[in-house]
């Protein structure tokens, strides 16, 4: 494996790494989006969301029809729609003042929902970050999540002989292994066979989805015989389920702790470890890295291995976590779009480990709050999806934000500055 052969000056090496594509992607992720720009992007997206909320209320639009005769009607209901909508978004995701005298589970309910929704996004965001720092774009989150979910599910319902919490540990490791296998395969194809990781990862998404849906969940080994006709696996044994973190009445599981540990480890990995340094070097300039004796292929494979392992952890929390709707079993839509949302979280977090955590918390809060917003105000959850998408667009177009808010744009951020 370790081919540290004297490969000093070989300008004719057939690896055209720093392509235009990867430069564009890198600029996108590390664009000069300072924290201020990110904040303003969120504000701007919420403003656009407010307009959408008003437009989608038929009563307000009717009042807009006679705006010039009685503007107060329209302004009142528009203000009512938006303020109630965003208040409920807050109440559903952070805390509801009405529960100040309520039970602890009511008081902490919203914030723990946010944490639970953020957990898989943290894993995913870190996974995209690692691949990206190695100069690769991992859009195979869906496939790697499924790979992890398959192995973790199998251990969780089959290996019930393992005593107590040890089964959970093995199930988590199996989930990581699933992602590692698929990620490693992608890395190997990239490094040794020159296949572009974007094509490989997105195609493997389909391979894994169809393998799961049309084959695996129909086999007697996986399919739950009590669910006639439904593509659902046997449920995990109680020992293998991620335990509640703050007691049974609150909706956060131990997966959050795993996610925070992963964040610390990834931060340490980039700043302190040799491999992390090599991956960063390869991501910044493969040719220079090679000249300095770093094995580019090895760094790429490792980056994809780690990225895959983290994606596999999404599979773990999706199957064994509290958000699973099917008694902790495996179903075709197990990835729930998280593999792709991971990309936007990494982008918003500017591919920094703790940035990813903040971005995940924001998106987790949107998800948790959207449901309350729709239940109480009839505002479609689709508006939240639009807001999430707008944030990403604004963050990746920092120049736009700067012109809208007339910010000076001379402080060019150091491109690709590490951590």
């Amino acid at each position: 494996m370790s081919t540290q052969t004297p490969q000093t000056e070989q300008p004719h090496t057939p690896v055209p790494e720093p392509s235009r594509f990867s430069r564009i992607v890198r600029d996108l992720f590390t664009a000069e989006s300072t924290p201020l720009v990110t904040f303003l992007a969120i504000v701007l997206a919420l403003l656009v969301g407010a307009i959408l909320i008003i437009i989608s209320d038929p009563a307000a639009m009717r009042e807009l029809g006679y705006f010039f005769s009685r503007p107060s009607d329209f302004l009142n209901s528009a203000w009512h729609d938006v303020s109630h909508g965003y208040q409920d978004l807050f109440k559903g995701s952070i805390f509801d003042p009405a529960t100040l005298r309520g039970t602890p589970s009511q008081f902490f309910g919203p914030i723990t929902n946010t944490l639970e929704d953020a957990t898989p996004l943290i894993f995913g965001g870190l996974a995209v970050t690692i691949a990206f720092r190695g100069g690769m774009f991992n859009i195979g989150g869906q496939g790697m999540t499924i790979a992890g979910a398959i192995l973790t599910t199998y251990v969780a319902f089959q290996w019930t002989g393992i005593p107590g919490a040890l089964q959970l540990v093995v199930a988590v490791l199996a989930g990581i292994l699933g992602g590692v296998l698929l990620g490693g395969f992608v890395g190997w194809l990239k490094a040794k066979r020159g296949a572009h990781e974007v094509v490989v990862t997105i195609m493997l998404n389909y391979v894994m989805l169809f393998f799961l849906t049309n084959y695996l969940l129909t086999t007697t080994a996986f399919h739950d015989p009590t669910k006639a006709g439904q593509s659902i696996s046997k449920p995990a044994s109680p020992n293998a389920i991620l335990p509640h973190l703050f007691g049974p009445s609150l909706n956060t599981d131990i997966g959050l702790v795993l996610a925070l540990i992963a964040t610390v480890v990834v931060g340490w990995f980039f700043n302190r470890s040799k491999l992390g340094f090599e991956i960063r070097a390869v991501g910044l300039n493969p040719a220079a890295a090679r000249t300095n004796g770093i094995s580019v292929g090895r760094a790429q494979i490792w980056a994809m291995v780690i990225s895959g392992g983290l994606m596999g952890l999404i599979g773990v929390t999706q199957v064994l976590g509290l958000n699973n709707p099917n008694n902790n079993s495996l179903s075709p839509n197990i990835d729930a779009g998280l593999g792709f949302n991971a990309i936007t979280v990494a982008l918003l977090g500017r591919t920094k480990p703790w940035g990813v955590v903040w971005a995940s918390l924001l998106y987790g809060a949107f998800q948790a709050g959207a449901s309350v917003m729709q239940a109480n105000d009839g505002i479609s959850t689709d508006i939240i999806s639009v807001i999430e998408a707008l944030i990403v667009i604004f963050v990746s177009a920092p120049q736009l934000i700067k012109e809208i808010f007339r910010l000076p744009s001379r402080e060019a951020a150091v491109p690709g500055a590490a951590s």
């Binding site: 006709g229 099917n326 008694n327 179903s331 197990i334 729709q374 239940a375 109480n376």
Partner: protein, 319 residues
């Protein structure tokens, strides 16, 4: 009400359920307030149900058997909360199942198809092999067999056999939204000699309507779940009739009962007798349906209700 991932505008059971909720609200003169939350992914089931619980909803309707586990889990946490679930059996003392014995309606559809076919071959196919799908196909199959026995004919059913429980299903990843797949299945049936097709596959079935329209009268269709003459009006000219499923009525009944303090955890089962399933009007085909057949269908319907005709499908819901 919590929708499944199909969303409120699915032209199918989410939309029907919501219509039932709104009916209940307007029938009560505004005393029943209704709202819904959409599930973007399966991840949302648990949290959406929880949002409605904390909102203080008296009755929560979850749509589709995919939400059964999430509903049961929520009920365990909130033992006094009332629930109803569409297309699933009652599970627990506070969850009312709303189920539909669509084999009865489809039996009429099968009898009708057998009487109307000119080629002696009729066809059906499903989206996926769920009991809620195959119960239709069983009923259709039995209706054709009953016609054969009564009339001494030999009309064949392509695409399904109740005896073997084997048949034709869509094979794509999106079995209820695969229009092109539905079209090719229907065209295959047509080339095998069928002139009436009964798709039990949601949006995939629209492909079958498309194939029927393109066939210039060689192939016609019987729609499923709701009256296709209205829900798929672009294809009204090829829809002979529809086998309906009265989701809206069931939801309305359940919600109204809960409001009036008459909640029961006994499953509601939609039958021909309570209009929970049935055969829609013939619309454009009315002139082609002989009066004798119409009276036969009325007799068959009465016989099913009275129990004189026994439907044997093992996929029928039981209370």
């Amino acid at each position: 009400m919590v929708t499944d991932t199909g969303g409120i505008d699915d032209h199918s059971f989410n939309a029907e359920s919501w219509a039932g909720m709104q009916d209940a609200a307007s029938a009560s003169g505004g005393k029943i307030g209704v709202s819904y939350v959409q599930s973007a992914t399966e991840n949302d089931y648990t949290s959406n149900i929880a949002s409605l619980v904390s909102k203080g909803c008296k009755m929560i309707v979850t749509v589709g058997f995919a939400m059964a586990d999430a509903t049961t889990a929520s009920s365990k946490k909130n033992p006094n909360q009332m629930y109803a679930i569409v297309d699933n059996a009652s599970s627990g003392s506070k969850i009312q199942g709303l189920q539909f014995n669509t084999a009865q309606g489809a039996f009429l559809g099968g009898y009708f198809a057998a009487a109307m076919t000119k080629t002696g071959k009729v066809a059906t196919f499903g989206g996926a092999k769920y009991p809620t799908v195959t119960v239709y196909m069983d009923g259709f199959w039995e209706g054709v067999q009953y016609y054969n026995a009564q009339k001494g004919k030999n009309v064949q059913v392509l695409g399904w056999s109740e005896k073997t429980q084997q048949g034709t299903f869509d094979t794509s990843a999106n079995p209820f939204g695969d229009q092109s797949g539905g079209k090719s299945i229907a065209q295959t049936f047509q080339s095998q000699g069928a002139d009436i097709v009964f798709p039990v596959a949601g949006g995939t079935g629209i492909g079958a309507l498309e194939a029927a329209k393109a066939s210039n009268g060689a192939l016609n269709a019987i729609w499923v779940d709701d009256d296709g003459f209205y829900s798929n009006s672009a294809y009204a000219s090829v829809i002979m009739t529809s086998v309906t499923k009265g989701i809206a009525t069931a939801v309305k009944t359940s919600v109204t009962d809960a409001y009036n303090g008459k909640f029961t955890s006994t499953s509601f089962i939609g039958t021909l007798a309570n209009n929970g399933t049935g055969l829609a009007p013939f619309h454009d085909f009315a002139s082609q349906v002989p009066a004798s057949l119409q009276s036969e269908l009325a007799t068959v319907k009465a016989d099913i209700i009275s129990g004189k005709i026994k439907i044997t499908s093992a996929n029928q819901p039981t209370a």
